[in-house]
Amino acid sequence: MTRNITCVTCPMGCSIKVEMTESGEITSISGNTCPRGEKYAKDEITHPLRSLATTVRVEGGIYNVVPCKSAGPLPKEKIFDCMQAVNAAAVNAPVTLGDVLIENICGTGVNIVATNHCPAK
């Protein structure tokens, strides 16, 4: 099994080829031009992570929504579950930048925090 991965560690954007056995064990990594690329490719295969930035609905604020982000990276496969949980939530104004809006989103251990202020109406 072969997977092609574009490294995003730096702007070079190396195309990395990862060879794996049927059981998903990595047998070779090629195409990277530095060790960071190898680590990136390994992580992408074994446990890809993404940070999430979205908005949460606000009740009684001057805006309808306040922007938020995951305080740390989330497992990539949980991104849509997390989106659903965030979209089901609502918070009361005022919201201050840095406020924890949702604790331990989808059991990931990561909090969703506000990335802007939303004063009350």
Partner: protein, 417 residues
């Protein structure tokens, strides 16, 4: 008439960084004029992360990056007026502006800093044929609808243009439940960052069609679909490659235009490539006491560079107000071949330090050499593993080099493969 030492037009990242630097350099009488309800500019709607890696060494969202500067502006007690539209700058640096509270403002400035940013190229500038159904908007407009106003402008989306805003919106619309059918890019390459192509398109299986454009828009009241086609090397649609894609929304991410109406009206010289003012090393325009920085000067890919450039302009304006800056004989800079433009376009020979030249290339290169020549003689030759149109490059002209230059000399930057 009001009097200020420095009036800054625009309270986005450029205006705020310029104001803070000018204050640090010893100017207390500063006024920022901002058109929107709050300071922060376009960063307020750029809720994705990736800002500040260069400047703060942290990955921040747009509002977080902006809020660090808003907090500093408040802490330094720099005056600003929001909901205020600048209308005109006169020959003698009087700024006219208007808002609901003060009515018409007439402000005499010693120095003016232009920090108005840029706006998106609209459909009209592309001449896409087809109907004028609703559902056609710029990617930035959609970004405001989703991220600030909190509603979705469509369900089935085609995006024309693969610049970073288009890519970011492909992901954002997908996360909020829309189906992004494809991103079409007229050029044979994307001008977006590789990181964004991977994390905004590849992650969600959104196809990127290169050398492809939208040639027709269908729908009477609402968009029902677009016809896309491949283009040849002259960017002309190839007959027989047309394809109908059903969608209810077309987002345009087809370039940014510096907002230089005020600049043009007062007669400041513009660079035909950047669409921004021609400036010297402190970002002073050819109109004495008027400086420009940020996206109104040239479109940047990273806000971090906007901040740094605006600090230079803020320092320049402060030096001008405090009587420390004097124009002298100058040399000019010139991009050759693939080097599309260089900022600054002029350097004063009496400048006291090194000068960084920023430039952009017109094509993608691997293992190329950047050459800097002065009047034909090589000054710098530097290997670069990768050059791309979406990534601003720079070279340093040292004070030592500058001391050997003479009036009207020309610094040329070129790329050799």
């Amino acid at each position: 008439m009001l009097n200020y030492d420095i009036v800054i037009i625009g309270g986005g990242p450029a205006g705020m960084a310029a104001a803070l630097k000018a204050k640090e350099c010893g100017v207390d009488s500063i006024l920022i004029l901002e058109r929107a309800e709050t300071l922060g500019g376009i960063l307020e709607q750029c809720i994705h992360t990736g800002f500040g890696l260069q400047y703060f060494g942290e990955e921040l969202s747009g509002p977080e990056y902006a809020s660090r500067f808003i907090d500093l502006v408040n802490k330094e007690k720099i005056e600003y007026k929001t909901d205020t539209m600048a209308l005109e700058i006169t020959d003698s640096n009087v700024v006219y502006a208007v808002n609901k509270k003060d009515g018409l403002l007439e402000i005499q400035a010693k120095a003016v800093i232009l920090a108005m940013g840029c706006r998106e190229r609209p459909r009209g500038a592309l001449n896409i044929p087809g109907t004028r159904a609703s559902g056609i908007m710029s990617a930035g407009t959609a970004q405001k609808y989703v991220n600030i106003d909190g509603y979705m402008p469509g369900k089935k989306v085609v995006i024309l243009g693969s610049g970073d805003i288009g890519l970011i919106m492909a992901r954002r619309m997908t996360l909020e439940g829309a189906k992004v059918e494809c991103v079409c890019e007229l050029m044979p390459y994307s001008s977006g960052l590789t990181r964004n192509i991977v994390q905004c398109l590849d992650d969600f299986g959104i196809p990127l069609y290169l050398s492809t454009t939208v040639i027709d828009i269908h729908g009477k009241d609402r968009v029902t679909g677009v016809t896309i086609a491949s283009v040849d090397e002259n960017r002309r649609p190839i007959p027989g490659t047309e394809r109908l894609i059903e969608c209810d929304t077309l987002l345009l991410s087809v370039g940014l235009i510096p907002e230089n109406e005020l600049t043009r009206a007062v007669g400041i010289g513009l660079d035909r490539v950047t669409n921004g003012a021609v400036v010297d090393e402190y970002r002073e325009t050819d109109h004495e006491g008027v400086f420009a920085c940020g996206n109104v000067l040239h479109v940047h890919d990273l806000v971090d560079f906007v901040t740094l450039e605006s600090q230079t302009a803020g320092e320049g304006a402060a030096r001008y107000v405090l009587g420390k800056k004097q124009k002298s004989d100058q040399v000019t800079t010139k991009g050759v071949g693939t080097v599309r433009y260089i900022v600054p376009q002029k350097i004063n020979l009496n400048n006291e330090g090194d000068v960084k030249l920023f430039f952009r290339v017109g094509n993608t290169f691997k293992n190329a050499t950047v050459k800097v020549k002065y009047n034909g003689n090589e000054l710098i030759s530097r290997k670069r593993p990768r050059l791309a149109p979406g990534e601003m490059e720079s070279v340093l002209i040292t004070k030592k080099m500058l001391d050997t230059f003479e009036k009207d000399g020309v610094i040329e930057i070129s790329v050799e493969v």
